[in-house]
Amino acid sequence: MNELLQTISPLFPELVVAVTASAVIVVDASLPRERASAALPVLTVVGLLVALVGGPAVSAQGTYFGGYVRVDEFAVFFRTVFLLLAIFATMVAPAYLDRKRVPAAEYYATVLFSTIGAMTIALSTDLITLFVGLELMTIPVYVLAGMQRHDRFSNEAALKYFLLGAFSSALLVYGFAWLFGLSGSTRYADIARTVASTGMSDAATIVALGLVTAGLGFKAAAVPFHQWTPDAYEGAPTPATAFMSVAPKAAAFAAILRVLVSGMGPLAADWATVFALLAAVTMSVGNVVALVQTNTKRMLAYSSIAHTGYVLAAVAATGAGAPAGAAVLFYVFAYGLMNLGAFACLLYLDIEGTRGATLDELDGFARREPLGALAFAVFLVSLTGIPPTIGFVAKFFVIQPVLDAGFTWLAVVLAFNAVLAAFYYLRVVVHMYMYEPEGALPPVVSPRLLSFSLALSAAAVVVLGILPDSLYAWALAAAGPILP
């Protein structure tokens, strides 16, 4: 018994989340509907908090299962990110789920399952664990996208997301198969050794890396692998969009860091040019297309593509060492907080179907829902990258390593894009604060739990924007295992 506990204790957070997911389903089946809908979010959040707080205490750092599971600072950092995002995505959802008759228990359970998958990616030391974790992260998200199943936009979102997701998984597995064929192992360390000795001249290595880059590019929504993003984000139920715009992306970057950065060893410097080009195209396309959108939900979808570009710029700069890795981690954290928040602010308006508010429908929003508008404005200012918000600090941390790695042109593109993005983000703020609410506007609903969680995260965006040092120090420590 004692031995068993010792074996499973490193996986404490994953176990707690799995148990919570099962408990949610069981409680839903055994309670009457009204009481269940009140109890389920509480149960979910409590479970996630236990995993969040108990994780670092119970799960000691080290390698387990014959070296196939590794709990290091990197894993701990990403576990925290995923658990926080899941808590946030749970807290903003209940009122919407009730209103739209989306099955609540399954929504929470699916978010929890996806979180387990994402945490598995962070723990992995080999391709097999990574692949299974990646699938457990994505497959529930397809379901989330289609959960408002009487709405055909939701159906279409799920279908597109699923088909492109399955396609990208197949690309990824085939790339993994070739990496295995080249190195004879599925472990990152062995692959790094082999790939470093064959070098870039080997055609098979390039095929494998190309496939893996394309597969993970789809998951992170990098241009030209982004076409599923706007339709999937727009059609999915809004709380699900908020979750799927951040958690899968964070997980994709965890996978990119594990496989394509640490798993490639010295070769990563050569591959960096590919990432730099992807980054430049991704941020430019995302921002330019976002500029012409009039629907805020679709605009945020394109803007999330642009943010993928900023993170990819930091990935390209990993030649600069740990600060680049820390920039990726810090940006992923900041992006998760502010983007989930921005999507969640759309939940204040009761609009038919899954559609988001248009710019005109946000006219005078500040007068109708002052707290929500303030939170929305904070998130948008942060997404733009204006101090004193976490979004500004995150961009600042990205630019330095990009310059150090010698990608001056990329830093220029990045700065130009940040200016471009200001137009469409601040346009929303102008509509909320400067315009009179006129005509038939959708009714405003203000659930207390939504306001509470948004206030909390908006405060975090500002506080971490002013005092980023401890978070950055942690990100730096977490990047250590990836970029020594």
């Binding site: 599971v69 387990i116 664990t129 299974v132 457990l136 497959i139 199943r149 597109k160 055609a203």
Partner: protein, 166 residues
């Protein structure tokens, strides 16, 4: 010598089966025909596994792909009205050049694939079951557990998407 020849002929037959049936899946208009050809491709791949001395995997392939997955997909074909272009995806208006890009890329990758050389002196004797079992239950115990969660998640997801309203 004679054994080698048998192996080569078997390989050729299976390879032609895989490629031919695969092309059929893509080109045929009737969806049931595509589904059955897909099952035929899976069977040929199972044959390849036997040729490679991986009998256990071949058995799994027949059970899971030819059995479960083909049946599931046939159910899918049965329950959905056959309309092409019901949900157009972004790229499918440009299929001529999509095909033009894929063909040379595919041939290129296949040529690179040909360059892989055997490193084993002989096919390990005694099948693949022992090595498989010890690996899965010792080193890969964690992903194995995660896979079980994945199946549970998929089950719940599938139910929530298609169940009738109560």
């Amino acid at each position: 010598m004679s054994y080698d020849l048998v192996g080569v002929i078997l390989f050729a037959v299976l390879a032609i089966g895989i490629v031919g049936a695969g092309i059929g899946v893509v080109l045929l208009d009737r969806i049931t025909a595509s589904a059955l050809l897909m099952a035929f491709t899976f069977l040929n791949v199972a044959g390849m596994f036997v040729l490679l001395g991986a009998e256990t995997i071949a058995a799994f392939q027949v059970l899971i792909y030819v059995g479960a997955i083909t049946v599931l997909i046939l159910y899918g074909v049965m329950f959905t009205p056959q309309r092409e272009r019901a949900y157009a995806l972004f790229f499918q208006t440009q299929w001529p050049w999509a095909a033009l890009v894929v063909a040379p890329l595919g041939i290129g990758v296949a040529l690179v694939g040909l360059s892989f050389r055997d490193r084993a002196t002989a096919v390990p004797a005694g099948g693949d079951l022992d090595a498989l079992a010890t690996s899965i239950f010792r080193d890969f115990a964690f992903p194995f557990e995660v896979a079980s969660v994945l199946l549970l998640a998929a089950m719940i997801g599938a139910i929530v998407l298609v169940r009738r309203d109560d």
